[in-house]
């Protein structure tokens, strides 16, 4: 397989050229994840990392970047796809060019693991199941719940819905009040939640926000409606960014499931193994924690990196 002298970038001497097809600015989680990778693959560590974020989260621009890395002949490609599907042709071409590809975070669909070296990611399904499991235990009598989603059709949204529903959907005590997109945004989540509370005469016990930002928006809407978050309405979020843990510590959020972004080291090891011709597992799951109490949040906060 491809050695370190793949003819890439030219002037960088014996640095290993890594093409990073990234997502770019999306939210705090992505920020932490990509910064972590950029900080890991440094020149000191022997790498020349080419960072190529998508424009407007558009898959087309990622494919363009990917193709360009293949044409240029980088040594290895890290692919952090915005969308899981539609990558076959590109990956096949990378294979033909003997450039190993490592998937970061998002997997591909259909999951043909012969097309890439490995996938390193936390598991969305597992993380969202953990939210649902917590809910089941927190509301033994069941609850009226509402889901704040990301944009309809994005695969994270689909996966987080699927994981969540696989548990909650089984439990008849939970009554869905519906789901609405708030486009990952605090403001929109606040606005949506306000209306949801109005429409249901404040009879909402549980909100599942698919990211921290929306969860924080929900907190504000609940407060604005004169209710107490954490008491009248319990809110659970996914990601585990610092503001969310602070809110958890303050009792505003009730549950935060981490979706661990810090796996640059793991990626580095995988890249080294692959370039040396070694074998790696086709899926390296990054362990993620959950925080279900203010105390847990307090403990984690001091060395929270994102």
């Amino acid at each position: 397989s491809g050695g370190g002298d793949g003819g890439g970038g030219g002037a960088e001497g014996d640095l290993v050229t890594v093409g990073f097809v990234a997502v770019g600015p999306e939210g705090a989680w992505r920020e932490a994840n990509e910064a972590n990778i950029q900080e890991t693959f440094t020149e000191d560590a022997g790498y020349d990392l080419r960072y190529a974020p998508a424009t407007n989260l558009d898959q087309q621009s990622q494919i363009d970047a990917f193709t360009s890395f293949v044409d240029e002949g980088v040594d290895v490609i890290l692919l952090s796809a915005t969308e899981g599907s539609g990558w076959e042709a590109s990956l096949e071409r990378a294979q033909e060019a003997e450039i190993p590809v490592i998937l970061i975070d998002r997997g591909i669909e259909p999951n043909d693991d012969s097309l890439y070296a490995t996938r390193i990611a936390p598991d969305n399904m597992v993380v969202s199941e953990s939210v649902a499991e917590w809910a089941v235990s927190a509301f033994p009598e069941g609850a009226n719940y509402f889901v704040l989603e990301g944009p309809a059709g994005v695969s994270v949204v689909n996966e987080r819905n699927e994981g969540f529903q696989s548990v909650i959907g089984e439990d008849d005590a939970f009554v869905s009040l519906g789901a609405q997109t708030a486009n990952w945004s605090t403001e929109e989540a606040r606005s949506v939640m306000e209306t949801v509370l109005q429409a249901n005469d404040n009879d909402v016990q549980f909100v599942f926000a698919q990211n921290d930002e929306m969860g924080l928006g929900a907190v504000q809407a609940v407060e604005a409606a004169g209710l107490t978050p954490g008491v009248d309405v319990q809110i659970a979020t996914i990601d585990g960014t610092r503001p969310a843990l602070e809110a958890l510590a303050a009792g505003q959020l009730s549950f935060v499931a981490e979706y661990n972004p810090l796996f640059g080291e793991t990626a580095l090891e995988a890249v080294e193994t692959v370039l040396d011709g070694g074998e790696v597992d086709s899926y390296i799951i990054v362990p993620s924690e959950t925080f279900d109490s203010p105390e847990a949040a307090e403990t984690a906060l001091p060395d929270r990196q994102f």
Partner: protein, 348 residues
């Protein structure tokens, strides 16, 4: 010569786009009230502030109303400002950063607001200078500043979603005075200020003039360039104000999402309000109603529980229905004159 008949008066009324915006708002509110008769109710919550759907609608409409006003002026000159969403996020980013660094006092709130306005004014000025003096097309100019502006916001917050706390600020964004949300009152105040600025001076007429016919306006001795710069600066500043209050409501700036695609909503509001995108005659009140309509529509979608997937289609249906009602074809039914001249839509 002719006495105005009821029919003519009806026709004139029907040809005021503003009226149809109002009708649409009423219809949407009625639909919501059908679902829940208490929809329009406003209550005094324990916390001592008023809550209720109408209040929420007004608060949601406020930032949109502000940018729609600036957009109206820009559109009237025959231009377009795609960068207002970015002006919002810049305004939000600057104010949140300043507040975070500040001491939570009213003074630091003022400083944050001032700084946000200053920077967004500069952004607007850049647009204006490029359009007026370099002669770039407004669409492409503001597309560039839209892209670069959001980037700038990210640079300002170093990519973080900065939060801050400042009571004065929070009150402005969330508080109510006599039942009405403060933000909305501010938006109304801005509406009044802009209307006064534009209509008690000659600004409005001159803007319309350059929008209708730049060449003839130049020959009439109008200094088109400084007017253009002024209008884009106004739009930028209003974008900044809107951004400050939009982020103020949650006290967090979301650099990727604040103001995203809001320029489209603003343009929609402007057009619903009866200002043609080809420039010329404009109606600020119309734009305000347009903004209210869009806020109502957004709220209705959630209230009725329309699924995320179907939301855009639902909006489309409402917009199309409204456009058809405003269309000349319907209007012709109501008024007697049937002109088959190549016509331009003109607003009163």
């Amino acid at each position: 010569m002719t006495a105005t008949t009821t029919r003519e008066r009806l026709g004139a009324l029907a040809s005021t786009p503003l009226v149809w915006g109002l009708v649409a708002i009423v219809v949407l509110l009625a639909i919501n009230s059908l679902r829940d008769p208490g929809y329009l109710g406003v209550e005094l919550a324990e916390s001592g502030r008023l809550t209720g759907n109408p209040i929420d609608i007004l608060r949601t409409a406020a930032p949109l109303l502000m940018i729609a006003l600036g957009m109206t002026l820009v559109v009237a000159t025959g231009g377009i400002d795609l960068s207002v969403g970015s002006a919002m996020v810049i305004g939000g980013a600057v104010s949140m950063e300043m507040l975070q660094a500040g001491d939570g006092s009213v003074g630091s709130a003022m400083a944050a607001l001032g700084m946000a306005l200053l920077i967004t004014a500069v952004l607007g000025a850049i647009n204006g200078l490029l359009v007026a003096f370099v002669g770039l097309q407004p669409f492409i100019t503001t597309l560039v500043t839209m892209l670069a502006g959001r980037g700038l916001a990210k640079v300002i917050t170093e990519g973080q979603n900065t939060s801050a706390s400042n009571e004065a600020f929070r009150w402005i964004a969330n508080g109510t005075v006599l039942g009405a949300p403060v933000v909305f009152l501010i938006a109304l105040a801005i509406l009044v200020i802009v209307v006064v600025l534009v209509r008690t001076t000659a600004l409005g007429m001159l803007i319309e003039s350059i929008g209708i016919d730049p060449k003839a306006s130049r020959m009439a001795g109008i200094d088109r360039r400084s007017l253009l710069v002024a209008v884009y600066v106004i739009s930028g500043v209003l974008g900044g104000v809107a951004g400050v209050f939009a982020t103020g409501s949650v006290m967090t700036v979301d650099v990727s999402n604040t103001g995203l695609l809001l320029e489209l909503d603003a343009i929609l509001a402007v057009v619903v309000g009866g200002t043609a995108l080809t420039g010329g005659r404009f109606s600020l009140a119309g734009a305000a109603i347009g903004a209210l309509l869009i806020a109502t529509l957004d709220k209705t979608v959630v209230f009725l529980g329309v699924s995320s997937a179907a939301t855009p289609a639902f909006k489309a249906v409402v917009i199309v229905a409204l456009c058809l009602l405003q269309s000349a074809t319907i209007r012709e039914r109501l008024s007697r004159v049937r002109l088959r001249a190549p016509r331009r839509e003109v607003t009163a």
